[in-house]
Amino acid sequence: MKKTIRDMRPVYVVGIGLHKYQHMSDTTFVTLGLTAVREALRDAGIEYRSVESAYTGTALIGMAVSRPILRHLGASGIPMAQVENASASGSTAFRQACLDVGSGISDVSLAIGVDKPAPLAAAASKANIRDLVGARVVPFTHFALLANEYMNRYGVKPEQVAAVAVKNNRNGERNPYAQRQKAVTLEEVMAGPPISGSLTRLQCCPVGEGAAAVIVASEDGIAKLGIDRSRAVKVIASVTRTERVYRGAKNFDAELTRETVAQAYEEAAIGPKDLDLIELHDAFTIEELLYVEAMGLCGEGEGAAMIGSGATDIGGKCAISASGGLLAMGHPIGPTGAGQIAEITRQLRGEAGARQHPNARIGLAHMVGIGAVCVVHILQKGA
């Protein structure tokens, strides 16, 4: 009989930590990673020697990233591995840590995300399968094409798509870990240098460096280490899928999101109406509209109106990208998915300060990555 994470023993997030997302600098990946891990250990109130396994989500740094960071916490001999899953690397590292604890192999596991920008090509570019456009179509043009299709199909204006960047930068202004911490007006977003199609610079996420760390524990681990149970957040769904063949010009990221989120809802026994918070893959403004629809928060073509209504603001019906999302907090690749878990945990604990979404009980984290892959987690307060 197959199992989901709900059939295993309960898994709780007990510690979160971040290194600010920022432009590439001289800071080493070791310092980035250590900053996040030490903060997560302090947050959980535990020592590194209590951690029993570690998974590092990273795509761009190189071979064997974990131990050069973690040895400086006192080499304890624990199992460690790197997890590379494109933009969803940090999300997948978190899932591995959850499975480690849920299965009973560990009582306490650490998921890290860490990266620094580097010109590393995706493996698919070495498959010797060429297309007509090659490097002349990069992700921003892929999403500009989707924006063009969406606006035409539903009669949506470029300003309505750009409004996503206004909301997410407003949230990012209140996030000390965000790469962009400056609120912007719709006029500023629209006036920015054009990048591709209707997408302007501020409608494309910054890719810099940073780190995020999440510690998960079993009930035994929480009891054994005397961790504050009232701040623990339960993982009630962990689902990952990859792209199938979708005929014609169907948007694979939205289709894949639809399938993966549906499975996560089933696993958590909740529906879209139960969500108080969502952190999603808003690398480009148009994605937020496509994914809120694919997640069933509103009907097809209603995403722009929903964002415009304020329903997805902090304090609205369901706060989307309260951290600032990829658009404002940034997208340093490896850390991004783990950083989403940190944000949702902080919000569910009621510790998000100036960007706190009131009465947050259930949050969903969503990342897609080149491949295409999709990883979704649902977290619940207390429980």
């Binding site: 399968i129 007509l132 002349r136 043009t141 500009a144 989707l146 063009n148 199609g197």
Partner: protein
């Protein structure tokens, strides 16, 4: 055309209205582009089930975007701005291609499109390089 050389001869023919070199799975009928012989993405059939198929360069414009930011390190390739289209071919596959028009003026989703060979620089021997692009098909009068 002896004084012309195709940028990607594996992907299309040298006719004035170039066909695309696609693939078809004899096992499940799936038609795909670009061509590959590793195995069918739809059903998993192996190379011996995959045959080459000529795909007509005719289709409908599904979406388009004019690219304003593009770094071509060689300096010899296409410089921004240029326009990319996603075209759903009449034979099934959807392909992204460079359009002959460099702006999106006059383009509309649903426009009929056809393939052409367009100049795309010169090679080291001074020969004209041509590549497959798509152009808007004006309605017959």
């Amino acid at each position: 055309m002896p004084d012309q050389t195709l940028a990607q001869p594996a992907l299309y023919t040298s006719e004035a209205a170039p066909k695309l070199n696609g693939g078809r799975c004899k096992s499940c009928g799936y038609v795909f582009f670009p061509p590959q012989t590793y195995g069918c993405e739809f059903c998993g059939a192996t190379a011996e089930q995959l045959e080459q198929v000529a795909i007509a360069g005719l289709g409908t414009l599904h979406s388009f975007a004019t690219v304003h930011l593009h770094q071509d390190r060689s300096g010899k390739g296409l410089q921004a701005p240029f326009t990319v289209g996603l075209i759903v071919l009449d034979d099934g596959p959807a392909v992204r291609a460079i359009l002959t028009e460099r702006t999106d003026e006059g383009l509309h989703i649903g426009d009929r499109m056809h393939s052409v060979l367009a100049a795309a620089g010169t090679n080291d021997e001074g020969k004209q390089i041509v590549e497959l692009r798509f152009a808007k098909t004006e309605a017959a009068r």
